[in-house]
């Protein structure tokens, strides 16, 4: 068991090391650079050369790489070329909104999708199943900007129930509770829109898996033993489904910090997604490098965690890892 974890941790560190190198190389291999992309007739070639100097891009690549490794491993990440602010500050100011938006919507869509998927699997051929399958497919297929703009026009413009933009009223209300309520009111429509767009995938996936599990021999045996339906579904079928769902959920977690560019734009939210997009397209090496490194770190950690939880939720895996088979 110890050997297994040592191997997994070792491979995780290796992946992170590779990401560190690739982050440096890939952004510099992309066409263009942070200085060349400036298009301003009042910015002379001499001013551009000075900017290269300020960014440290005039130094040889090995020197740049060493500085980058030092700043990344110390979690300092340097100053963003695009915003002129420390990258860590930028991420810190944006992460709360992004995690609230995507974390809540992921949780909601996963819970709703799982519940509906199970309902559909348990009532095969019924009108309810058809409704769930149809709504799942529709929600899964609609482009997010269309759904979100429609919701915005319906519930913020035509019927002004929700605010048009941002996470705060302008001017903001006074008092802690009032501020919290205002924040929740602002986040409601973006979260609802993402949950609406996301539940379909979960519902279809869970329904298909559940249908397969309900046809397995051990379910037939459980029925033959006369176990109550609730026990069969929750104690046997869902228990079998749970490790897979947990893995998908955990592997979706890194996505909640990478942001949702379109949602953030439509609802004018200060989030990580747009920052990441601008960092990549604007050749902001410190910001892009930091963001992708942190994403890789989170992905690798979630992978490790999902391995651990697999063992907790599936006894067969525990036994295999324990070496008793």
């Amino acid at each position: 068991m110890k050997g297994y974890w040592a191997r997994r941790t070792g491979s995780a560190l290796l992946i992170l090391g590779l990401v560190l190198v690739l982050n440096f190389m890939l952004f510099r291999m992309m066409p263009g650079d942070p200085v060349a992309s400036i298009i301003d007739p009042n910015f002379s070639p001499e001013a551009k050369a000075r900017l290269s100097q300020v960014y440290g891009l005039d130094k040889p690549l090995p020197v740049q790489f060493w500085r980058y490794v030092k700043s990344t491993l110390s979690f300092d990440f340097g100053i963003s070329f695009l915003t002129g602010r420390p990258v860590m500050e930028e991420l810190r100011s944006r992460l709360p909104n992004t995690v609230t938006l995507l974390g809540t919507s992921l949780l909601l869509s996963a819970l709703l999708g799982t519940w509906l998927g199970m309902k559909a699997a348990l009532r095969r051929g019924s009108f309810l199943e058809k409704c769930i399958l149809w709504s799942g497919a529709v929600s899964f297929s609609f482009p997010s900007f269309f759904v979100q703009l429609t919701l915005l026009m319906a519930f913020a413009a035509a019927l002004p129930v929700f605010p048009l933009r941002g996470t705060l009223s302008v001017p903001p209300p006074a008092g802690g509770m009032a501020l919290l309520a205002d924040y929740l009111w602002h986040m409601a429509l973006p979260v609802f829109s993402l949950a609406l767009l996301g539940f379909g995938g979960w519902a279809l996936y869970v329904r298909n898996l559940m249908v397969k599990i309900l046809g397995e021999d051990f379910i037939l045996l459980a029925r033959a033993r006369g176990l109550p339906q609730r026990n069969i579904v929750m104690g046997h079928a869902f228990r079998t489904l749970l490790p897979t769902l947990l893995t998908i959920f955990l592997l979706s977690l890194p996505g909640i910090v990478s942001g949702a560019v379109i949602t953030e734009t439509v609802f004018s939210l200060h989030g990580v997604g747009r920052f990441l997009l601008e960092a990549v397209t604007g050749h902001d090496y410190p910001a892009a490098g930091a963001s992708f490194f942190l994403l890789a770190l989170l992905t690798v950690s979630c992978n490790l965690l999902s391995d651990l939880l697999y063992g907790v939720t599936d006894p067969r895996v525990r036994m295999e890892r324990g070496g008793r088979r």
Binding site: K48, L82, L164, R165, T167, T265, S268, G271
Partner: protein, 553 residues
């Protein structure tokens, strides 16, 4: 001609409907004493649809930089909104790589210009909210020369010019040079339709128009960064690119001098003509305004002969303001979202209330040394003042922190040089109550020269010496002679010495996050005092009750 008029009709209607309370001759800056509003919010809304909805629902009062014709049409029907339109400094050009065949042939470039249906493109794609461009400076520029050779749309005349020069067409309709060289397929670099739909469409239309006279052209959409990289490496045949120019004709030197055909320089076409270079050098180092005007005019005439690029269109600036406010200043050169308006605006009825403006993206570091985006300067432009300002009617230079100045030429140890002497306004105070003086101006110029932040490098690199004979006089001796030194030096925002001298690292300075009792590190002499920036939400400012403008009246 009729078509051109038709294309401009919607714009003309908005312009006629705009309130022009005073005319150029009446303009008195001192009359704009203010600001009258106590609280100003710059509300950050990125999505154009959300911006429009916010204005329609009364959540914001002023929305600038409208560029989708459909939005302008929608707002034109809104009785609660006043639209304003002005000719801008935007210019969209088709460029050629004149270093290689076939674009090294001037007759081909002239014919390409003549093959472009500029009026129709503007009408179809912009609904009239842009004007066809046929010059190398936008018509609104004070240095615009109207009397230049133009090549109006006439494909038959374009073909005849080529035929007269000995060009022929092969059986496939492709042009063949007088030396027998067939024009190879030409790629026109442009951004992708997903990132810039109108530009991508224009590129397709231009390629079609060129093909119609025998130049086999095809649009090649690509990521904008990749496109700029190709242009920087001079690895292209043709491209389309939009520029934001300024009231000074600096762009002529930057775009067309052979000295700018270097890595990082903007002479992307690679035009190199001794006559043009000589005129552009005269323009860059013109000793006075008269010579500057003469050189700018000659340069534009030379360019219309050489045709290194084809001017295509210039977009109008359009903004919308709620009618629940009065006092906006609108001219044919500035829309309602300008500093003069912010000084004078007050509710049309009822008591004073906060004014809400749309800010279309985040201000970033709000660091006067490093910030270069329009969004940063939308905020800092209301905080910091410079020595001169621009007349909103004529775009001429008018006094601001300097109440007068002289531009003299004198002999220095290494040749003639320009000496700028500014007489500063008295009684001006910084937001924290400290008096503003010549030492602040001298400190600003000397600090920028010492730190050399890239944004100001071109402004200060020619400063030789800064002197302060008294508290209200600044004398700046330049290294060489140029009329433009006045605009470059006096246009720099003046920083408070007592605050900035404590800054340890100009690159990482975040003045908006320095918390004082009531102020941050963003202290200026301007009409608004910075209060708060909530990322993603808004910037809050308050009216500066100590603001100096109009105090004398």
């Amino acid at each position: 001609m009729k078509k051109a008029l038709f294309a401009l009709l919607p714009a003309v209607m908005i312009f006629l409907a705009a309130p022009l309370g005073v005319c150029a001759a009446d303009f008195d800056p001192e009359a704009y004493a203010g600001p009258r509003v106590k609280d100003l919010y710059l509300v950050i809304i990125r999505d154009p649809d959300a911006q429009l909805m916010a204005l329609e629902r009364g959540k914001v009062d002023v929305l600038g930089d409208l560029h989708r014709p459909v939005d302008v049409d929608a707002l034109a029907k809104n009785p609660d909104v006043e639209l304003s339109l002005a000719s801008g400094f935007h210019g969209f050009f088709l460029g050629f790589n004149v270093r290689h065949f076939p674009w090294n042939r001037v007759e081909l470039r002239r014919s390409a210009w003549q093959a472009l249906p500029g009026d129709r493109m503007v009408r179809d794609l912009f609904g009239g909210y842009a004007e066809p461009l046929s010059t190398f400076l936008p018509p609104v520029s004070p240095y615009f020369e109207p009397d230049v050779t133009a090549y109006p749309f006439d494909p038959e005349a374009a073909k005849k010019r080529l035929s007269d020069a000995g060009w022929t067409w092969n059986p496939d309709g492709v042009l063949v040079s007088p030396e027998g060289e067939k024009v190879p397929p030409q790629k026109l670099l442009c951004p992708t339709a997903s990132s810039a739909p109108t530009t991508a469409e224009i590129a397709v239309r231009i390629a079609g128009a060129l093909s119609s006279i025998g130049i086999p052209a095809e649009a090649e959409p690509m990521d904008f960064s990749a496109m700029i990289s190709r242009l920087d490496e001079r690895d292209f045949q043709m491209y389309v690119l939009a520029w934001q120019m300024t009231r000074d004709p600096d762009s002529l030197y930057a775009f067309y001098s052979s000295k700018m055909d270097v890595r990082g320089g903007y002479n992307m076409p690679g035009i190199s003509d001794p006559g043009l270079d000589e005129v552009l050098d005269r323009l860059r180092f013109a000793p006075d305004e008269e010579e500057a005007r003469r050189a700018a005019s000659e340069a534009q005439k030379a360019l219309s002969d050489l045709v290194p690029v084809v001017p295509v269109y210039s977009r109008y600036s359009i903004s919308a303001a709620s009618k629940s406010w009065k006092g906006t200043l609108v001219t044919d050169r500035v829309t309602a979202d300008n500093t003069w308006s912010l000084l004078a605006m007050e509710p049309a009825e009822g008591p004073m209330r906060p004014l809400y403006l749309v800010q279309q993206d985040e201000p970033r570091a709000l660091n006067p040394f490093t910030s270069s985006t329009a969004y940063d300067w939308q905020v800092m432009g209301l905080i910091y003042d410079s020595l001169i300002a621009v007349d909103p009617y004529t775009l001429e230079t008018i006094p601001w922190l300097a109440e007068s100045w002289t531009v003299e030429k004198e002999e220095g140890p290494s040749g003639p040089r320009t000496v700028l002497t500014f007489r500063l306004r008295e009684g001006v105070e910084w937001h924290d109550g400290e008096p503003f003086s010549a030492s602040d101006v001298a400190f600003t110029y000397e600090t920028l020269k010492r730190f050399a932040p890239p944004r100001y490098l071109d402004n200060v690199e020619n400063i030789d010496l800064v002197e302060t004979p008294d508290d209200h006089t600044v004398r700046v001796t330049m290294k060489n002679v140029s009329f433009w030194h006045l605009h470059r030096v006096a246009g720099i925002p003046v920083l408070p010495k007592h605050i900035v001298e404590k800054v340890e690292d100009w690159r990482s300075w975040l003045p908006a996050e320095e918390k004082g009792s009531d102020l941050t590190g963003l202290v200026g002499t301007g009409p608004f005092i910075f209060k708060e920036y909530r990322p993603g939400e808004y910037v809050r400012m308050s009216g500066n009750e100590r603001f100096w403008l109009g105090r004398g009246k």
